[in-house]
Symmetry: C2
Subunit: 676 residues, 2 copies
């Protein structure tokens, strides 16, 4: 066991990343009771509370940094998301309702509208005079936005667009602010003018009057109770030939002149569509950060409890074993801790890239595409991981984990929808997979190297070598003499990287080969694509893990304290080796690892966990949340107090002559006496 302690303060600062000050200020806000969730409130009261909380955010200019200076913002895109992400510690409903208002609704005006729109609508959106809904998703189309069926048909006689819902599946659905508070919406619809459908565009549409009544032609329904996030009034909207002025088209990427003629700075309808959607990537970026924060909170609570809680005597007769000393408990919590560190460092890179693109520092088409691929790779992993971490943490705290005041279940319930909104995780990973395929097909495999080093090109030829098993036979010969050689192999970060990149390349090559074999026939290609969908998504997943690995590895270089770097290196190793362990079958079946070497992996991971165990508390304390953020009864120190009280009671009892003897001991004594 290392007796040196890591430098918690320095590590904490590093974890706060580029926007440390902004994050710290936002965390201070999240620590204030009036901005937090009151678990006792029912849905209706919770919704009203969150609306009032948004007003506090307005007063304090808490999450307005992304807007132009002209309108009181800071033109600070990265900083805005950093502040926003930290609100999850107060209440995910507050975070997401803020995201709906300023990220989505006002964000659409900012990014899809032009100067006139900014002047006309941004101020009211920014100060919440107009709470707005972001009406993109329809009941019938979530992930496939290009296929939304709401129409906006231009009527040149009146110079108006007619917004219309042709059938029930085209109702706008799951929109925050639509259930109750929204008085306007940015509505995505097929723009039709002069008999041509120019694809999906966004329109500013007032939906309610000052009394909260729907305007003529507008209708809707409240989505009612949800699995979580019940501080937000999600709802449905539909439109019956609702007319808005021509100038309500947010026309940055496509405009209609008074005579009905269409024009766009982007000639290709496909590229135009993706450019418009691309401006909304901030949702995905911020969910990646918020989800990682939720994982941190869960682990800080669960590890603290596991360090205080005792159960069952094993070594000592009188002292029960601390939970975190059990191997199984280490296996449950510490790999998730390692993964959360990886996710945190990867998120910093994503946020840096996001800010570079949105500030205009580096916003080429390639940059934008790279940003989207990064976000599409990381958001699924971190949101799924948050649910997994929250659930495992809750279980690791037993029945106490299930009590609402211990936070896990409510965070889980709120975070649940993060895995399917702002891009369904499976659909996002498929996008990443397609990008990997495209890069593969074009023989061009760079991807961004600014924010994170990435994706080292590999010879396709090596796959054949691996498959033949020659490589693993060589490994066996090398390893057989000394088991430490296997450990040396696994702890070498070049080997770790090679395993990840090798798997990605091999899976992508496999899918590409199968698609090529399908030829040019459209039906056959579609079928082949479907038959390789699971493999492609597996490649995308590993790609996301590689991004995290690179970010973690790079972060190690920035650690100056030696003990801290050593401990974090173990943590990085646990992270990446657990990723490899999950796909161990693949690595073996394809000759990347010998049987010999593979057999040592679980044991080596267990040894690393035992080494990390004494540092676990420091590692979660470095996340920097205080009890005002954690707010769990069991993270307050109460468990340690109870354990000490119990131990003191028994110690006093043993010291007295009042202690009853156990029947078991008595039987032993009687037996011994009989034998003597």
């Amino acid at each position: 066991m290392s007796t040196n302690r890591i430098d918690v303060a320095a590590l904490g600062q590093q974890l706060l990343g580029d926007y440390a000050e902004i994050r710290t200020a936002s965390r201070a806000r999240a620590a204030r009771p009036e901005l937090q969730r009151d678990p006792a409130l029912g849905m209706d009261e919770h919704r009203e509370r969150v609306l009032e909380q948004l007003k506090i955010l307005v007063e304090e200019q808490a999450v307005q940094r992304a807007f132009p200076k002209t309108y009181g913002g800071h033109d600070d895109h990265g900083g805005s998301l950093a502040a926003f992400e930290e609100l999850v510690a107060a209440d995910p409903s507050l975070q997401i309702k803020a995201g709906v208002q300023w990220g989505l609704f006002a964000g659409a005006i900012l990014h899809l509208g032009t100067e006139e729109h900014h002047a006309k609508w941004l101020p009211d959106a920014m100060d919440l005079t107009v709470p707005g809904a972001f009406a993109m998703t329809e009941i019938g189309h979530g992930s496939d936005v290009a296929a939304v069926a709401t129409t906006a048909t231009y009527d040149k006689d009146t110079e108006e667009f007619v917004i219309h819902t042709p059938f029930r599946a085209a109702w706008k659905e799951f929109l925050g602010n639509a259930g109750l508070h929204g008085t306007a919406a940015t509505v995505f619809a097929q723009l039709i003018t002069n008999g041509v459908n120019h694809g999906v565009h966004c329109f500013y549409v007032p939906i309610r009057d000052e009394n909260g009544q729907f305007l003529p032609g507008v209708g809707g329904e409240d989505d009612g109770l949800k699995g979580g996030l019940n501080g937000i009034d999600n709802g449905r909207l539909h439109f019956d030939h609702v007319r808005v002025p021509r100038t309500n088209l947010l026309n940055r990427y496509g405009d209609v002149a008074a005579d009905g003629s269409y024009s766009s700075p982007i000639a290709s309808p496909g590229r135009r569509f993706f450019t418009m959607l691309g401006t909304l990537v901030q949702g995905r970026v911020s969910l990646d950060g918020a989800a990682t924060n939720a994982s941190k909170i869960a682990l800080q609570i669960a590890v603290s409890y596991a360090n205080q809680r005792r159960q069952f005597t094993s070594v000592s007769e009188t002292e029960e074993t601390t939970l975190l000393d059990y191997q199984r408990h280490q296996r449950r919590l510490l790999p998730r801790l390692a993964r959360t560190y990886a996710a945190s460092f990867a998120h910093d890179g994503l946020l840096e890239k996001f800010d570079a693109v949105f500030s205009g520092r580096a916003d080429s088409d390639d940059d934008r595409q790279d940003l989207e691929t990064l976000a599409a790779a990381l958001k699924p992993l971190s949101t799924w991981d948050a649910l997994d971490t929250l659930q495992e943490s809750r279980e690791a705290c037993g029945g106490s984990g299930f009590i609402a005041k211990n936070r896990f279940t409510q965070l889980y319930q709120d975070l649940d929808v993060y895995v399917t909104f702002e891009g369904d995780n499976n659909v996002l990973l498929q996008l990443v997979g397609k990008r990997l395929l495209t890069d593969y097909a074009s023989g061009f495999r760079k991807l961004d190297t600014g924010a994170m080093a990435m994706y080292v090109a590999k010879q396709v030829g090596t796959a054949a070598l691996h498959r033949s098993g020659l490589r693993s036979v060589v490994q066996s010969v090398v390893d057989v003499s000394d088991e430490r050689k296997s450990a040396n192999y696994f702890k070498d970060s070049q080997n770790q990287r090679e395993l990840l990149t090798g798997r990605i390349n091999a899976l992508v090559a496999e899918v590409a080969g199968n698609l090529r074999a399908a030829g040019k026939d459209k039906v056959k290609t579609a079928q082949a694509f479907n038959e390789n969908q699971d493999t492609l998504i597996a490649a995308a997943r590993t790609h996301g893990e590689l991004l995290r690995f690179e970010a973690f590895t790079e972060a190690l270089e920035r650690v100056s304290d030696e003990t801290t770097r050593e401990v974090l290196t173990w943590l990085r190793d646990v992270f990446v080796l657990c990723v490899i362990e999950q796909d161990l079958g693949w690595y073996l079946a394809n000759g990347w690892l010998s049987m010999q070497r593979a057999r040592t992996l679980p044991e080596y991971i267990n040894r690393l966990l035992a080494r990390l165990r004494p540092h676990a508390q420091d590692l979660v304390d470095a996340f920097g949340y205080t009890q005002d953020h954690l707010r769990a009864d069991i993270s307050s120190g109460i468990e340690a107090e109870r354990q000490e009280e119990a131990m003191a009671y028994f110690a006093a009892l043993r010291a007295s002559d009042q202690a009853p003897i156990s029947e078991k001991s008595l039987l032993k004594k009687t037996k011994a006496a009989a034998t003597a």
Copy 2:
């Protein structure tokens, strides 16, 4: 694609199992709105509603079958649990509150008390005159029941027991009925008489008066809001020298005479303790059934939706692809469907075993131990699987899955605690692992063969052969000529069984070897045990899967319709091959599978899924739940209606001359015209 359909009615009947009539009657009850959850209710109203619902269950004698005929029951233990398990479809809170009252509280009186206690307390417990808490768990001790710290000290002067809570960690915790409704409790405490602690015994203790006020010396707290199951008033209790008559000791397994002398029909304090706890195994048995029912409900909703919902065009230009036609969607839902079938058949075996023991038909010590091992192996798997299935189903339905009225999230929230109560899943699996170790050590590896065929003994020697890799080299030679040979290998149920049993034996042998190496030193042994904890739990998990495999395989023999048997065989294969796929790394690293063979496994599973896909709806329909049970908006057929409406709209539009041309098509035409 098979054009034959399976026999849904016959399969449905088989799935209902031995207690088909009782289950059907209980399901009819669960279909009645007055017994169902009203999602709009807050915690307080929900608690009152569930209490009223319990009274309906009393009136209708719905779940009283386990009690003696003398008191109006049927002495029908298996039937009682079958009826009870089906209540989960109405509201898990109703199920669990019924379980607290009649399974735990009245169950303790029945199983731990004697005739006098039955006569005195059973009638009031059965008809809910006395709602009762089951006060076993303490804040400081959940899984380690033997270490509870509440004391019951006999005072021979007054012939009373003094029930006392010595410190805060000894407060009784998480007790249903303790928060509000309970007027008595069965309290577990260390029985101390004449200076000797005879270990944990159970006492009947009144806790509240007729006005709901705590009796003198009794105190407590309401646990308040929980992650789910909020229809139950969980709470804490503590006792300050509360006196109860000597005869309030439930004295079936241990008694104290007026003079304070202790007697028990079971000489060994350890065996006595486990015998007392063993009478409460019904909780675990019934959770296994209820959790499997929840999985069925989730899958019936999600598969129905996936068969109606369409998203993205792939093959056809105009018709979108049905979700369940996507490989990834099949991978998400169908292995879980297969696993749920396996769990359902395994539960039938468990229930049969339970009934045999509790009816006295076969209740030797060995039978009881086997029952406990079965329950400890199956309950963890089915409760974890229920959460996993509910979550994947919810995600597979996208945003709609998150809306409360679509059931998934509320069932998830309620079922969450099933994985840690009535025995924490990890602790239970460790118990199973210890049993496997004991059997291994005694060279005696039979386990029950009545309810399910099980655990075929293997030569330990084969492990060495496997490890050397010789076996896998032979496989490679055999398989290399023909990939179908690999498929033949995987679909042979003897091979499937051998892979499962082989893994269990090898893991147990590994742990046993490591423990032996630690010698007789207590500290070293404890350390070695801890260092092998994860492996032992892995063995227990696979043992549980083996039990399911055997039950599924046996169930196939009972299917008379040929198509049904063929389809169910594919389903069994998917179940067991997915279990093997999860541990593929282990099988390869230890020489059980060749690289060649292992590489074909994922693809072979995918082919099976494609074969099952046309039968998916029939397979979930066979679960037999109606919309009154499913109660999800999206399982009502509304999605199909919406899809048809949308398709009809576009078909009519295309047929008319009103359809706008897409800009993309226009560009193509213009280009073509320019080239021509």
